[in-house]
């Protein structure tokens, strides 16, 4: 689905004559391969290059070095630009700044309109995608009156209506309250399971990556760790060094283990921790 080969991107600051004054490497030789239908998370603290990487998938940015293939299409190929953007939709951080329509259903129809989809089919797609994110009953509302989580779900529906095979969510929950955050992640997961859409979730909230199939951790533009959530979270020291928070249950298990209590590595949820503790107690 998505294949990055030595992907590198420099932000350049130009002086008044257009000469390069300063270069900042945002993404540094990233190699990764994402299979269709996967739920992938990319973790990293601010400035780790994760958002810059995400913008490459939608061909908003093109690599300085290396290549990125989306469904076999090179993002540098300008003829394929609209095809790539249709294939890999993108949801951004600020819910207000990505809703174009003044009515929810018109906003969802914006993508298909741009693709030149016939009117009847636009309506069908709008209905389908609004119901897929559970926002169908708000279709006639003004986006200004929705909560942050609802706006973000409308944005997801707007991408869904373009029938993408992959959705990149670039910190979709950073500006939301805990409830909105939950509803957005739940929606993403549902689309992944039920519609088989590849999801690439970019975030710095650890709780959101627990159910991902595969996690990449980025730091200073490089992929520094990768593996299943269990593999990642068993390396508590390393995560701390990268200034990432570890889920509480994982942290507690880690601390207990340090004190000599025999718990397995990579405990992710409270339930798991409780189960393991019970098992330990019944053995004693």
């Amino acid at each position: 689905m998505i294949r990055a080969e030595g992907l590198t991107f420099d932000y350049e600051r130009l002086d008044e004559e257009g000469n390069v004054e300063e270069k900042k490497r945002a993404v540094d030789h990233v190699n990764l391969h994402i299979r269709p239908g996967a739920f992938i998370a990319i973790l990293g603290h601010n400035g780790s290059g994760k958002s810059t990487f995400a913008k490459h998938i939608n061909a908003i940015l093109t690599p300085t070095e290396g290549t990125l293939f989306v469904d076999g299409m090179d993002t540098k190929d300008e003829d394929k630009l609209w095809e790539i953007r249709q294939d890999a939709g993108m949801v951004f951080q600020n819910p207000d700044n990505q809703i174009i329509g003044t009515v929810v259903e018109e906003d969802v129809g914006f993508g298909p309109e741009n693709l030149g989809v016939p009117t009847d089919e636009i309506w069908q797609r709008v209905e389908e995608s609004l119901s897929a994110v559970g926002m169908l009953k708000y279709r006639h509302h003004s986006p200004n009156r929705l909560s942050g989580g609802q706006k973000q779900r409308v944005a997801i529906a707007g991408v869904m209506a373009m029938h993408p095979r992959c959705i990149v969510l670039d910190e979709p929950t950073a500006m939301l309250d805990p409830n909105g955050r939950k509803s957005v992640i739940k929606t993403a997961r549902k689309l992944n399971k039920e519609e088989g859409i590849t999801i690439l979730l970019i975030t710095h909230y650890m709780e959101e990556v627990i159910e991902a199939d595969h996690v990449y951790v980025m730091d200073s533009g490089k992929v520094v760790m990768e593996g299943t959530p269990k593999e990642i979270f068993s390396q508590v020291e390393e995560l701390k060094r990268l200034r990432l928070d570890v889920p509480q249950a994982t942290l507690l298990a880690y601390e207990l283990k340090k004190r000599g209590i025999l718990l397995p590595d990579g405990i992710l949820s409270n339930e798991e921790l409780v189960d393991e503790l019970w098992r330990l107690k019944s053995k004693m």
Binding site: N58, I60, W82, M90, F92, N97, I100, G109, W123, N144
Partner: protein, 268 residues
């Protein structure tokens, strides 16, 4: 609450006028304005009044609501009336005091001009009151479509208008927030003379502008990410179609214009 501000001045109701295609309403408004300038006699104005009255009745918008728009032009109305009254020469002098004099022709022009202005405002108010801003933009885009041939960026203008409509409430809310934040830091927007008040707006406007530019940047990226590439090859989710009622309305409007022209020729 600042978010409850109604945009434009749309008055929601279910009426024949509301249901008409926005293009019909735009064309009708233009024709009505023309007809007002064709009319130059009592009979002409009577027909224009009748037409306007029937449209208002059909639109189900309360009359009080419509006349709100007139408040803004009261001063203009009075000024034009006064100028017409005193400056137009006629045959019969009705009143004289020093260099000031009022003639029959002056009174006639003053009254008709006032009526023209009032009807003009009421006529266009009825259009904006019965058409949502979105429909209005769509209608304009479609009506001005032929101007694309002479390289007028009609689609882009319509798109900008609808985006502006979407962001007005957001920016209003933001203004409110920044204002509160600055007041909390000791800014004073209330006291002082005009110049001081204008100066006090700087700490409000600078952050507002910066944030508006940032939003514009984000929005442009989001639009591109959703494959927006101008008006070419774009389809419409809600295309405009003329229904039979729109055709009837066009018929009525053209008949009205014909009547007005005839009246203007034979009853002066």
């Amino acid at each position: 609450m600042i978010r409850d501000i109604t945009l434009g001045q749309y008055y929601p109701a279910k009426s024949v006028i509301h249901q008409l295609d926005p293009r019909v309403k735009l064309v009708t408004t233009v024709i009505y304005v023309i007809s007002l300038f064709v009319a130059n006699g009592i009979v002409g104005y009577a027909v224009a009044t009748l037409f306007l009255g029937v449209v208002i009745k059909l639109s189900k918008v309360p009359f009080k609501y419509i006349t709100k728009g007139l408040k803004a032009i009261v001063l203009l109305l009075v000024l034009t009336a006064v100028f017409n009254l005193f400056l137009i020469d006629g045959e019969i002098v009705l009143w004289r005091w020093g260099i000031f004099r009022i003639t029959d022709q002056g009174v006639r022009t003053a009254v008709f001009m006032a009526i023209r202005l009032i009807y003009l405002i009421i006529g266009s108010s009825v259009m904006t009151l019965t058409t949502t801003p979105n429909d209005l933009t769509d209608g304009l885009e479609k009506l001005l479509g032929p101007m694309k041939k002479i390289h007028v960026p009609v689609h882009e203008i319509a798109m900008m208008m609808s985006i502006a409509l979407r962001f007005i409430p957001i920016l209003l809310e933001e203004t409110d927030k920044i204002m509160k934040a600055q007041i909390a830091r000791g800014a004073d927007f209330e006291t002082g003379n005009l110049i001081q008040k204008a100066k006090a707006m700087v700490p409000l406007l600078v952050p507002l502008f910066i944030s508006a530019f940032r939003r514009a940047n984000d929005l442009a990226m989001a639009m591109e990410a959703r494959c927006y590439h101008g008006g070419d090859g774009r389809t419409k989710m809600k295309p405009l179609h003329y229904e039979s009622r729109d055709k009837t309305a066009y018929g009525v409007v053209w008949c009205y214009l014909a009547v007005m022209i005839l009246v203007g020729r034979y009853f002066t």
